[in-house]
């Protein structure tokens, strides 16, 4: 038996008790696994905490599952819906496309468009060859003939490329002409590389069209014994408008297309107008054919749309304003949105199942490392029953899903101030490279990843996972420290996810007296932000259990909630930045990047917002004067001395990783009280770039007063209130000393008060102060 590995995912991330859920599993080296449904109590295995705790739950699906190795089609392409085989061209033809190669020197063949079967060598295609040159090829039963352009294609430059093939003389003529302007390409006019090439030659054969070959844009049909049919020869870069003519177009006609004039009307087989079908609220996966047969093309793995096109003039920076200039579709051969494996098991959850974080635990062999997989999903109650709800920030989990920065990003060590620490699982995921990337990573061509999804295995969303760059759990494993604390102290609570917030808005939160956030609810769609804001405004009591929350926008399509979109831009923390003109999300038309520049800094919602980030060492909070005011002194009742949170599983303190601070100028409600603040952070902690105007010496922990965590409290209309902890590490301070510690004491005080209906403690101490001392 070779290496045994198990990977899996569910079709839904959030289900209600009584719903059905499907499990998709792929294994290596084993054909059966032991399945056991478990409720996850605590994840972090740090010796100072309770360790990993799960509770086995009876269900129909427990037992041995028959599983198999599944193939994953990675990479983006468009498949043309051509039931009548209109594109099985027999006579003369022309293929044309506006392209902006993203990685012409990849050393691998890339198909721009064509109806090509690479396994049998039948059909035709226009693409980029291994040498980085435009090539037209056609084949008849494995005999292949080709015509190659004599100038290499240059990186990130716009071209009009075409091939005209005369079926009678078998003469093929390539057309390659640069259409870059001062805005749309990497190089401007001062660096005039040779872009044009117009070779022509007679080929020795013409193509054979097999009926089953699909016409693809940015890929070509291939086949292997192991995988069956798949799409290979994937293209890197942008393709704008493209099409097919049923005759050999002449030079002047192609020149006219390159000049942006109207397309010739006669003999059109297909003409894909990539800029059609845009709405202010997003762009779908369908690329519309304006030709006579309506041969629309459908995107696979979500080619990125709404990108600047060949004719972008820089005047507008959003596809909503001038869609015709934003016809660019970007393709990446390593992008993945949905593994599309067949379901290994389908399970109808019992109606009586308690709300919580569940996982289907699959084990093979000794059941450790890659031989154990927790396929995590979140179960809401059939009907809300508890007074407390905990919202798992699944949007942020998705943003970080399968993050590989420790392997690829040289800045990562500097940002975290530590040497990264990777595990067997990280290395295997990196080696495979087939389960997609996170929105923090870059594609192999250096372009940032904008889509993430939960329809793929996500090892870093498992309960024991430690983040390589931190050696501390983050995301789910960190958030479980909070729910474990609730569990330990016997609080009845329901759980919700970001997906529920996005889908149902305020309705999801309204039934609860008190709502707790996760440790890092960083990514929020507009609907999620609205839900939290409305909840607080209408009298809800909200505990913001972390930091770096409500910072960044993200988008979901209503019909595909598993995929999340992120665009990053110049005004936020980022590991990459979207190009200009490409900073608006294709899923919903919202501006990508942080919420602050849109007038929604986190301070406005919860009183505090991101002040700094770092790692390596966490500090503690010391009480601030406001904690002695009777309006809020009940929060620290029972805390001995002034120190709060001097222990923790995350770097030994409650104030660490990311810190939030109080800032009037960013909209902290004027009556907000600071209960406690941290200080003395090391210089690895740097001030949040968003609140820095200049870079200068001294934007670090020991120099800048903004590098701190503020624990704040304010009351809201209708007996509402917000308590904010101010640090990501706060949640991980709770499990220390068997859940009995001063950080937990503070949280218990707040929670006990928040679940009580009616007035909040300290409500009466509101007169103006007349001090004698």
């Amino acid at each position: 038996m070779g290496n045994v590995e198990i990977f899996g995912y569910t079709d839904k991330i959030s289900v209600k008790a009584g719903d059905a859920i499907q499990f998709h599993v792929s294994t290596e080296g084993t054909e059966e696994v032991e399945a056991q449904l478990v409720r996850l109590i605590h994840g972090d295995e740090h010796p100072d905490g309770p360790g990993f705790i799960e509770e086995e739950v009876d269900c129909m699906a427990n037992g041995t599952w028959a599983v198999a190795k599944q193939f994953t089609q990675v990479g983006t392409f468009l498949e043309v819906d051509d039931p009548e085989n209109r594109l099985a061209l027999e006579g003369s033809f022309t293929l044309w496309a506006f392209i902006r190669p993203g990685w012409p020197d990849s050393g691998k063949r890339q198909t721009i468009l064509g109806r090509w079967d690479a396994a049998t060598g039948d059909g035709y295609g226009l693409g980029i060859n291994e040498d980085g040159r435009l090539e037209f090829w056609l084949g008849w039963d494995g005999e292949i003939d080709r015509l190659v352009a004599d100038e290499k294609l240059h990186l990130q430059m716009w071209y009009l490329v075409a091939v005209s093939f005369d079926a009678v003389t078998k003469r093929a003529t390539l057309y390659q002409e640069g259409v870059g302007n001062s805005y749309n390409s990497l190089l401007g006019e001062v660096a005039a590389l040779p872009y044009a090439s117009h070779p022509s030659g007679e080929l020795r054969l013409s193509q054979q069209n097999l009926t089953q070959t699909p016409f693809l844009i940015a890929g070509a049909r291939d086949r292997s014994e192991e995988h069956g049919d798949f799409v290979g020869a994937l293209y890197w870069g942008k393709i704008d408008r493209c099409g097919v003519y049923g005759r050999a177009l002449g030079r002047e006609e192609l020149d006219a297309i390159g000049a942006g004039e109207a397309l010739p009307k006669d003999d059109v087989v297909a003409a894909w107008d990539t800029s059609l079908g845009y709405t202010d609220r997003g762009i779908g996966d369908l690329v519309v054919d304006t030709g006579p047969y309506g041969l629309d093309a459908k995107g696979y793995n979500r080619p990125v749309r709404g990108k600047t096109g060949w004719n972008w003039t820089g005047f507008t920076d959003c596809f909503r304003l001038a869609p015709e200039e934003f016809g660019g579709i970007e393709f990446h051969a390593d992008q993945l949105v949905d593994c599309k494996w067949p379901a290994a098991m389908s399970l109808k959850l019992p109606k009586s199942l308690r709300s919580g974080v569940y996982a289907m635990r699959l084990r093979a062999g000794e059941g450790a490392g890659l031989r154990e997989e927790h396929i995590v999903f979140f179960v809401r109650p059939a009907k809300p029953s508890a007074r407390i709800a905990f919202v798992f920030p699944t949007a942020t989990y998705l943003a970080f899903a399968n993050e590989q920065m420790s392997f690829d990003d040289p800045q990562r060590q500097s940002v975290m101030g530590r040497f990264p620490i990777v595990s067997e699982i990280d290395i295997e995921l990196y080696r495979r490279g087939e389960f997609g990337l996170s929105t923090y990573d870059k594609h192999a061509d250096g372009v940032g990843v904008v889509y993430s999804s939960y329809r793929r295995p996500i090892p870093n969303m498992s309960p024991k996972y430690r983040t390589p760059s931190l050696d501390v759990p983050s995301g789910l494993a960190a958030d479980l420290s909070i729910t474990a604390w609730l569990e330990h102290h016997g609080y009845a609570y329901d759980i919700l996810t970001d997906e529920d917030l996005h889908r149902e808005g305020l309705d999801a939160l309204a039934p609860y007296a008190c709502v707790l956030s996760g440790t890092r609810p960083e990514y929020c769609s507009e609907r999620m932000l609205d839900a939290v804001e409305d909840y607080i405004a209408e009298g809800g009591r909200y505990i913001y259990m972390g930091a770096n929350g409500f910072v960044h926008s993200c988008g979901f399509r209503d019909d595909e909630p598993w995929a999340l979109e992120i665009r990053r831009r110049d005004d936020g923390y980022k590991t990459w930045a979207s190009a200009h003109g490409e900073q608006y999300m294709a899923t919903d038309g919202m501006r990508g990047g942080p919420w602050m520049p849109l007038g929604r800094p986190p301070q406005k919602l919860v009183g505090i917002g991101l002040s700094g980030q770092g790692a390596g060492s966490s500090e503690f909070y010391r009480r601030m004067p406001d904690s002695y005011h009777r309006m809020s002194s009940w929060i620290t009742k029972g805390v001995e001395g002034e120190i709060i949170g001097d222990t923790g599983l995350a770097d030994g303190g409650a104030a660490g990783l990311a810190l939030d601070h109080y800032e009037h100028t960013l909209g902290t409600p004027p009556h907000t009280k600071i209960i406690a603040s941290s200080g003395g952070h090391t210089d690895v902690y740097a001030v949040n770039q968003q609140i820095v105007l200049y870079a200068y010496l001294g934007l670090y922990g020991s120099h800048d007063s903004r590098v701190r965590a503020d624990m704040t409290y304010f009351t809201a209309p209708n007996h509402g209130a917000v308590f904010a902890c101010g640090s990501i590490a706060f949640g991980q301070a709770l499990p220390v000393d068997n859940f009995e510690n001063n950080a937990g004491k503070v949280l218990a005080n707040v929670l006990d008060a928040f679940v009580e209906p009616g007035r909040l403690p300290g409500w009466a101490w509101i007169s103006e102060e007349k001090q004698w001392r």
Binding site: E45, S414, F419, D683
Partner: protein, 549 residues
């Protein structure tokens, strides 16, 4: 290294309550990182100007206009593999003929075609006879090259095949009156049969043993034909076979016809060589040279089959040449089996360079010229041939036509020798090195890196190493912080990280690849009991790397 430990660093965070922070630690005396920059005013080695003058014309081509690309009929190969490149210094378009050999071939063949017209009249006879001999021998050597060069089989049976075919066809012509046009095809059949006999040992025997075997075969043929009475054992050969050269023609015309016929034979052999070498069988055989058969077989190359095939083609072609030989000279002598014929033939191949058609032809030309034209030199001719062959074997790696690559390799060797004496390891780039880097940002990065390291090396001291151990994730002194910032900001290739083998128990140091999909490698066997210990291990390694650089 710092010599004083009087200096203390005070932790700015020690004022914060809680007692977590260390208040002060011994550290290095401070000195500015600018010292290194200010002190370095010139390079340690002399910097020479670089740049090469363009003194020849290079066709710029035309990107905008249509460019028809012709092919060699009926193949799919382009006429002259012309590539468009751009000049990395001017960004201007340039056309490069990737393979200029067809041009040289054409020029040389044209020269051979008109050579008889240019020959001085007093030398006419000698030159034309030599030219005809050259044509035949060139054809033989081209065929020989198929097995030695492409097939990688050291066969010395070439002349025995030619000879056997020649004797049998001559015998048939003399005894049974076969006319001249039948002799070459019959020769091909004889050659084929001969080839079939010797092909099979070639798939089994190793190079040296096979050479011995075929040499023995050659000797066997010589003994058989010289002693057999049917084949004219008494008069030194068989003569009087039918010739294609009409007796009625003048001797000048006869000579000319002979010359061109042999020239034609050579062209045919060239075509065969190109045809076999350029097709699937040639590619298969080149994948399975001697000593690498097992590898080729493992990758699915059926080299035995290909070797048998190439042998049959080789033998049939040589048989054909044997038949032609008889019609050209009207007979054949026993000297064709002699050992010196084999040696002379080998000399031709070796001088030109084994494996290339141009080598076979040029080598033949040189040897035949010495042997048949420089008759005035007497026996010294053969000494000269031997001397040339010896020099070629001694000093050239692959004959005359290997000189270009050999020269380049030698120049590269000299280049790296010179660089290693002048350039510092990990130091700034020399002007010569900078010409090889497209990203000039790297040139500056190398300078910055060098300066930074020169400063950082002065910061490494036992105090700083101890400070790292005790304040691992805390606030650091200026010296330690500088070292850590440098270590953290390096590129990803070979950058150290830690492998979590068993959480909280078992850690090891790895190095990242910096290439997507390539997993990190373990750098040492040592196992650390905690993350902190492993971090300090990484730090020590990085310090060591810094000091060694």
């Amino acid at each position: 290294m710092s010599e004083t430990n009087e200096v203390k660093w005070r932790n700015p965070l020690a004022v914060w309550p809680g007692g977590k922070e260390i208040e002060e630690l011994p550290t290095n005396a401070w000195h500015s990182h600018q010292d290194v920059w200010r002190a370095r005013r010139e390079s340690k080695t002399k910097l020479y100007p670089v740049g090469r003058l363009r003194y020849w014309y290079k066709f710029a081509g035309h990107g905008g206009r249509l460019w028809s690309r012709m092919r060699y009929w009926p193949t799919r190969r382009r006429v002259l593999d012309v590539r468009g490149e751009y000049n990395r210094k001017t960004l201007q378009r340039e056309k490069t003929v990737a393979d200029r050999r067809p041009i040289y071939w054409l020029l040389c063949l044209a020269a051979l075609a008109i050579a008889p017209l240019l020959a001085p009249s007093n030398m006419q006879y000698t030159l034309l006879v030599a030219g005809a001999t050259f044509g035949i021998y060139a054809a033989i050597n081209l065929c020989w090259n198929l097995v030695i060069g492409i097939g990688g089989i050291f066969s010395l049976a070439t002349y025995s095949i030619v000879g056997t075919s020649a004797f049998i066809t001559a015998y048939l012509s003399i005894q049974y009156g076969f006319s001249w046009w039948m002799l070459a095809p019959i020769g091909a059949v004889v050659g084929l049969l001969f080839g079939a006999v010797i092909a099979f040992p070639a798939t089994r025997l190793d190079g040296f043993y096979y050479a011995l075997l075929t040499l023995g075969l050659n000797e066997l043929c010589r003994v058989y034909f010289t002693t057999s009475s049917e084949f004219g054992g008494s008069n030194g050969g068989l003569y009087g076979a039918d010739s294609y050269i009409p007796d009625s023609w003048s001797s000048d015309h006869q000579l000319l016809l002979g010359y061109y016929a042999c020239f034609g034979l050579m062209l045919a052999a060239l075509f065969l060589h190109r045809f076999v070498g350029g097709r699937r069988i040639g590619r298969l055989l080149r994948m399975a040279p001697e000593k690498r058969e097992a590898f080729a077989e493992a990758t699915g190359v059926d080299f035995r089959r290909a070797r048998v095939w190439i042998f049959l083609i080789y033998a049939a072609a040589l048989g054909f040449i044997g038949g032609f030989y008889v019609t050209n000279f009207g007979g054949v002598s026993f000297s064709i089996f002699s050992f010196d014929a084999v040696l002379l033939g080998l000399a031709m191949l070796v001088i030109g360079g084994i494996g290339r058609p141009e080598g076979a032809v040029a080598g033949t030309l040189i040897v035949v010229f010495l042997d048949k034209v420089m008759l005035g030199l007497g026996p010294l001719r053969l000494v000269l041939v031997g001397l040339i062959a010896l020099l070629v074997v001694l000093y050239l790696r692959n004959g005359l036509f290997g000189i270009k690559t050999q020269f380049r390799a030698w120049r590269d060797k000299k280049k790296s020798e010179h660089r290693s004496t002048r350039a510092e390891k990990g130091g700034e780039m020399l002007p010569e090195e900078a010409t090889e880097t497209d990203d000039k940002g790297i040139v500056y990065a190398r300078r910055f890196d060098k300066m930074t390291r020169d400063h950082l090396k002065t910061l490494v001291s036992p105090e700083i190493i101890e400070e790292h151990r005790v304040t691992l994730n805390g606030q650091h002194s200026d010296a330690l912080e500088r070292l850590l910032i440098y270590f953290r900001t390096r590129e990803q290739v070979e950058k150290y990280g830690i492998l979590n083998v068993v959480p909280f128990k078992n850690y090891r140091i790895v190095a990242f690849s910096g290439h997507k999909g390539v997993p990190p490698r373990l750098v040492e066997d040592r196992i650390y009991p905690s993350y902190d210990a492993a971090c300090h291990g990484v730090f020590l390694r990085r310090v060591q790397d810094l000091l060694e650089s």
